[in-house]
Structure formats: structure tokens, C-alpha cells
């Protein structure tokens, strides 16, 4: 049932999903981290953006990105410290990469010609 629904959903989706700003950041962080699950993803996000990131927002974004097909997850590695609960590891899918690239390109397009202003200290 799930696969059937997913198939229909894929058919009806735009080929390149649109990414919000936070989703864009989350997707990039997933790429940055080796063995990406929520805890290190959030750490990287906070370090690199310099802003506090609430856990709830991160989980919501991860769920939404997965629903959009930009992320794929697997459950693995239930260590004792986690009370026997598995980690959810995330990978960026080809579709996610395409979305990243397209967003990146849009931004690059928009920044072209503004280097003088944007790169001034």
C-alpha cells in the first residue's frame, strides 16, 4: 500500500522539489556529516549557521524532506546508551541532490553581478 501510494505521489510531484531556506540548510548538513542522524546533523547546523536550532523543527524538516523524496532513511545501530532504540540515518537521494543543485543555481543566478556588494567585508 505504501509503495503504491509513493508511486502515485512520485508521478504527481514536480520533478525538482522546491526547497525552503531551512530545508536547504538541513540538506547541506546531511551531506556534511558522516553517518548522518539527527544529533550530529543539528550540531553541524548550529555550528555552521551560528544560530540555535530547535530539535522539533529539525525533525519536522527531516520528515518533510523525506516525504518530498529528497532524503532516504534507514534504522540502524541501537546502542545501550539510547535505551535500545535505533538511530535513523539519513542519505541524500538523487532527487535531493537535484533539488540542491537547482536551488544553488537559482541563488547563483541571483547573486551574479552582486559580488562587489556581497563580498565586501
Amino acid at each position: 500500500m505504501q509503495s503504491y501510494n509513493a508511486c502515485i505521489a512520485d508521478m504527481n510531484k514536480p520533478v525538482v522539489p522546491y526547497l525552503g531556506e531551512f530545508e536547504y540548510a538541513v540538506l547541506l548538513s546531511v551531506l556534511q556529516v558522516e553517518g548522518a542522524y539527527a544529533v550530529p546533523i543539528r550540531r553541524v547546523l548550529e555550528e555552521r549557521t551560528g544560530r540555535p536550532v530547535t530539535r522539533g523543527a529539525l525533525y519536522t524538516a527531516l520528515e518533510r524532506l523525506e516525504a518530498k523524496g529528497c532524503l532516504r532513511s534507514r534504522m540502524d545501530d541501537a546502542s545501550g546508551e539510547r535505551g535500545g532504540r535505533a538511530r535513523r540515518y539519513f542519505n541524500v537521494t538523487p532527487a535531493g541532490l537535484r533539488a540542491l543543485k537547482s536551488t544553488h543555481a537559482v541563488l547563483a543566478n541571483l547573486t551574479r553581478g552582486l559580488e562587489a556588494i556581497l563580498e565586501k567585508p
Binding site: Y37, G56, M75, E81, A86
Partner: protein, 897 residues
Amino acid sequence: MTSPSTPPALAERILSWLIRDRDWRDSIVGDLREEFAESSRRDGLRRARRWYWREALTIGMRALITRGAARRARTRWPLDAAEIESSRSWRAGFARDLRHAVRAVARRPATSLVVVASLALTLAANSSIFALVDALVLRPFRFPGVERLVVIVSSNPQDAFVDRESVAPADFRAWRSESHTLTNLSAAEWWDANLSGTDKPEQVAGFRVTADFFKAFQIQPMLGRDFVRGEETPGQHRRAILGYRLWIRQFGGNPGVVGQAVHIDGEPYEVVGIAPKGFAIPDGAEIWAPLAYSPDEWNNRRRGFLVVSGRLQNGVSLDRARAEIESIVARQRREYPDTNQARMVAVLDFQRGMADPGAGPFMSVVQAAGVLLLLIACANIANLLLARGGERAQEYAVRLALGAGRGRLAGQTILEGSILAVIAVIISVPLAWAALDVSRASIPASVIRFVPGLDFMRISPELFLVMLAMAAGATLAFTLFPALQAARIGISLALGQNSRTLTSSRERHWLRSTLAASQMALTLALLFGSVLLTATAYRAINGMFGFDKHNLLVARVVLPERPYAEADRRRQFVTTVTDRMRAIPAVSAVAMVSNLPYSGGNATRGFWPEGVTVKDREVRQVDYRRVSLDYFDTMRIPLLAGRDFSNGDRAGTEAVAIVSRSLAERYWPGASPLGRRFRITADGEWTTIVGVVGDVLHDWFQQRRAPTVYRPLAQDAPLSVAFVARTVGDPSNVAGDLRRAAAAADPDQPVIELKSMEDVIQDRTAGIAFIARALRVVGLIAFVLAITGLYSLMAFMTSRRTQEIGVRMALGATWWQVMRLATAQAVRITIAGLVVGAVMSAVLGRVLESVLLGGVSNNLSQLGMLTGLMATVALTAAYLAARRAASIDPTLALRAE
């Protein structure tokens, strides 16, 4: 055991519960554990736990919100729906049905609101009424073994009001010695005990009882001892058992008072015991003394005034005891035809026999109103839910087509009903609480003594369950019907139907109209009942009394028998008090009377007019009053003929009396009664009538003015007296003066019931005023329910005909024709409902008349007015609904789907 590295278990539980997806739950809870371990290493356990709570709650709330949002946003695929509808998994189905039901309830907020409000109000009214009936009528006494106790009364068991102070001493003696089915048969006589010698003399509610009285209840005094048989003889009887509250109030709970003497009625009584806490039988008694009669007094079979109670022997049924006592009474009838020939007997269970005698009939009126209200609410709910069910025929058909079982559809409808019922019950509980509080507060302090069971007036868990069952029953019955219909419907038929081809089935249409009409009928009857009772209560409180109730201070004194055995001492007491009162500037007139109107007590005598031979049994009883000089002036009772009493009427002179107008008219119609003579016993002295005064209403439920004889204090001095003082300004200002005047006449003599005449009337009419108030509330709720019901039905019916109306308007129908079309149904329903309602009202008026002892007068003009009011409001509702239909643009109406 919580190890240092595990997070707060409760927070984790909440979080787990809030995140429904299993994988997400595992991973998030795991992540938090991981971070918690780190945090507790870094910041310490306390801060880590605080951190965990904060995070768990914010993540959980967020999950809750996004879950809702995701569901709303989710696209529904046709095959997905089919898969769900045909799913045979009970649990999945139930969860889905529940969601469906909640959504269905929430999507029609107006209908749901009306259903819930109708149900909640009705339940609150009914459950508070039930709590009242249970506490005051069904089970006012709750102690072990109460079901084995009986009360025997010498009055007609068919009488609405049980008169338990009705047994003659000789009758009681015979029962006690002859009965084998009853044990500890005991008698009690009303006793106003004047307690003095304490800091604050007071009159205590007391009873003189035979020695077995306490044994019948199987209770022992908590201190001291019970009475013994030997104390039933005169001379040995000066013993008393104090009630717990009296003991605390007057003696500070000092156990040393047992064995000591206290002053009661001017004589020393030895306190032999203290009754256990909470025991106050009968009539809220607080002191008991042995009943000691001389042999002569025991042989009295003429007058009945004893309260008789006893306990069934082991293994004996109430019916057997009843049969035995009835056979004894039948024999007494044969043996003493002079006195016992017309005597009745009733062996009652204790709850009925000892309860407030007025509570039964009064509460039955309120309870009947509650049941009517329940019926009205049911009709209302049924109508709304039927309408809703019809509206949803298509939805059901679609779901049937997709493979949903018919049982599932029915189940879902039932679920919807249950949700409404549960919400209604939750709302109704605080409402019922409030209603009970108001009821409790509306019972005046002076009446509380006679209302046993007041402490049990509350919403018990059992009652809550009953409410729940009632609510569930009401909604289930009416949700089930459309569901069954839905299950019966043919799919293709329903799918083919839309509002153009389906007005609604004839059967359902008829059902709804009948429901609306019966609702109108019931409401009219209920409103009429409440108007009748309101009018009765108004008349009882503000009506024509025959005297002026304003600016009148009254006080009652019961003089003890022994110190006041001589009539002269009684007269002297009265004269001292009235003389002192008269000296007060704020008092314009003062007098004394033996039985104050509206005080609840009465005294009657036989009436033998001169020149007429009447047999003992045919003698008319007349009200009998002893009054001091100036009584008629003080009360402002008009003197119609003859003269008032004067100082010339004294003990030695000719016996004189003044009679009321009704008495004069009954015995000497068209002739002057002045100078005529009568006797109050067959062989008594002749009394001459010297004056006629206006009639006085002695009690609220007496419609006819009772014939009354007034005798002067100088020739007949009573023990129980009431003073009345006409005051200038607020009567309570001179209350202290009256108390001091009584104390000057006899310092041991407490004054009771010192209050204004208006308060006396208010206390006496508290019962009827309470019912009237309760019925007004119930009637108002019913009225609102009926009108909303009718309006919603009209609105629904016209909305279903929107297209038809559009077609007609497009074809040139005028506004007026459309209005007539749309309101015709309402007019028919209204007329049918009101005709039936009027008939029901007339019957109800008769019933009320008989239940409330004729205190209610059936008034047809009120019925006419109410019918008019109902018709106006109902037709206005129909008009508003129709106007909306008629104002529709025809093109829009045609397109409406």
C-alpha cells in the same frame, strides 16, 4: 529505579505517546536519550532532567500539530478510500470511524451545539430533580436496618399528605399489646421543650417517647443510658436524653451533664443520656423525654396525635404486619363505634412514613415536569439527528458502494451519538451541582428541621452513571434510526438521488412532523403547568389574606403545662407582654392569638349550632382561635357586624364569640348570626355570637375560607400563644423589645419564631414557591428547546426544497405563494401540536389541582394566552426560515446542489 543516565520516565512516556509513527518515535526518543546522557554528564542530573522535559514537550507538541496539519493536507486517493472502507480490521476500522464521527460532529457545529445543549440542560434538570427526590422522598433516612422499620398512621393511606401525628393513645396501647409481627412498637408526642437555666434559654424541638423508642432504631445513647419502662409513669418521667447538637450547643459537649438536672418547662429533668450524632427522629428532634400518661389519658381514643413507629419481627414481611394491624383496627371499629368507626390505618415503610409529608406530592410534580422535559429534548434531538441522517444518505451510499459494511455505517452513527452524549454529560454535571446548591439554599432555615435527607442531596456516582445511561439511551435511540435506514437504503437508489429528486421519504417526513408536533404539545402542557404553579405561588405569597401582612412582627411562645396550669397565670403572662409592647412608640397595636395564620398549626372544634340536632359523626369542624383584645384591629381584619370583644367579657360573664363571615353564611344564610348560640361539644356550655369579622386565609392551599370561631382570651386562655405587633416601620426594629417584654413576664420562657409576618408567609410557602421556581426553569428550557427544534426543522425542510422553490419562482410564482408553500407545513405542525397540547394542559391542570390539594386553580384564559404565544413564536420561526427561502435568487436556487 531510575539510573543516573535515564531521562524522566513520564516525559518519555508522554513523548512516545505523542509521536505515533513507530520508527520516528524510536529514533527521536533514542536521540534524546543520547543527548540526555551527554547533558547530564556536562550539566548535572537536575538540569539535564529539566532540559529533557522542555525538549520532550516541545517536540511532542510539534509532532501533534504537524500530524494534524499533515492529515489535512493529505490527498485522498480513490482506491485508498476503497481499501479503507472494505477493510475488515476491526481496530483500524474503529479508529477511522471515531475520527469520522468526531469530524462529523465538528463539521455541523450548529446542530451539534443544539443537540448537546438540549441534552445537557435536560440531564442537569433531571438529575438534580432525581437527586432531590432520592434524598427527600425515596431515601431520606440512611442508617442500617431502616428497611425493617415501619410507621403506623391513623389516616387515609390514599391521602396526599401523610399525617403521622394521628394515632390515639388507646389505639396505640392495643396495638402494642396485641401485635406479634412488630416489636419495639413505640409512640412519640410532639413536645416544645422550654429549656432554661442555661446562658440562653431556648425552645427545643422535642418529643415525649415511650421507653422502646430508641430500641426500635437499635441505637444506644452514645453517653449514659436509654429510657426504661418504669419511666413511663407520671412522676418518674422527668428524665431526658439530649440530642448531640443540643448537647454541643448548650452544654459545650460536657460529658458531666449526664446525671445532672436541667430546667425544662420550669421543672428539673435528669439528663440520662446523649443521643448519637446525627440522630434527630422524628422531625429533627433534639430532646426526648419519657411519655407518661395517667390511665385516663391512655384511654383516650377520641383524638389522635401520637407518632407510632416500630420494627418488623425477624422474618415478618411488611404485608403480614399490615394485615395484622388492619385486623386489630377492624376489631376496634366494631368495639368502639362511637370513636373508631371511621378510623383508617396505614402501615408505611419508614422512609415514606417519616419523610417530609409534603415532599412526596410536591416532588412528584417537579419530577413529572422533568420527564416531560426529557421527552421534549428527545423529540428535539431525534428531529435534528433525523434531519442530519437524511442529509447524509448520499455519503452513506457512497461508502456502501465502496464496500463499507452496513454494520460499520450503523456503528459510526452510533459513535456520533455517543460523542454528543458524553459531551452533554460532562457539561451537565456542574449544571446539576449548581441546581442542587440553589435548591438547598432555597429551603428556609425554619423549614429545614422538617426536611430529613437534606444532607444526602448530591450527585452520587450512581446518579452520574444513570445520567450517562439516560444520555446514551436518548442519543443512541435517535442516531440508530437514521443509521438503520442508511443500512437499508439501496445503493443505486441513493446515489441516483439528489435534492432535486429526493425531498425525503414520506415515512421519515411524517415521523419528523409528528416529533415536532408532539414537542409543541408537551411544551405547551409544561408551560401551562409552570404558569399555574407560578400563579398559585404568587397568590400564596401576595394574595388576599384577609389581613394586612405588612409591618407586622410576630412571635410564638409555648407555655409549659405545669407552671401555667391555671388560666389566670396564662392570661397574666399575655397581658404583661402586650402591655409592655404597647408602651413602645414604634408599636401601634399589639395582640395575641392562639394560632397564627400561615404558621402551619391549626386548632379545630366541633360546631353545634342551637336548634339543630346533629349526630356526633355529622358535626362540622370549624377553625378555633383564642384572641386577646385588639386582635382584629392589629391584624386589620374588618369587623363586619356586631361588636369586638371588650373588657366586659370576663371569666364570669356570658360566654361570647365572634365568628367569621363564611361561618355565618354557612349556618345562618341570609340571616344575622348575632345573638345566636352554639356549643363546641355536644354537652358543652352555650356560647353567644356577638360579632362577625372578615375571613382570613389560614394556609396557602386553602381556597375556601375556613369557617372560624374566635373566643376571647379572658374566657379561654391557651398555652400556645402568638403575639402580633403592628409596627411603624421595619418590624425587626422592635424584635428586641418583644423579646425583653417576654423575659420580663417570665425569664425562663424562650420566644420562638420571632419574625415579620411576611417571613412567616414566605417560610410557609417555601415549598410551593420552590416548585413554581423549578417548573419555571424547566418550562423555559422546554420552550427554548421546542422553538429551536421547530426552527431548525423548518430551516431544514425549506433548504431541502430550495430547488423546487427556484423552479416555481422561475415559472413566475409570487413571493407570497412561495411563502405559503414554505410555511404550510409549519402551520399544520403548529396547529396539530397546540390542539393536542391544549387538551393535555387541561388534563394536567386537573391533576395538579388534586395533587396540590386544590391550591391550584385551573385557568383557561391563561391556557389561551400561552397557546397564542406558542403559535406566534412557532410561526415566526417558520416565517424566518421561509423568508430565507423566498429571498433566494431563482438562478442560484436552480443551480444549488
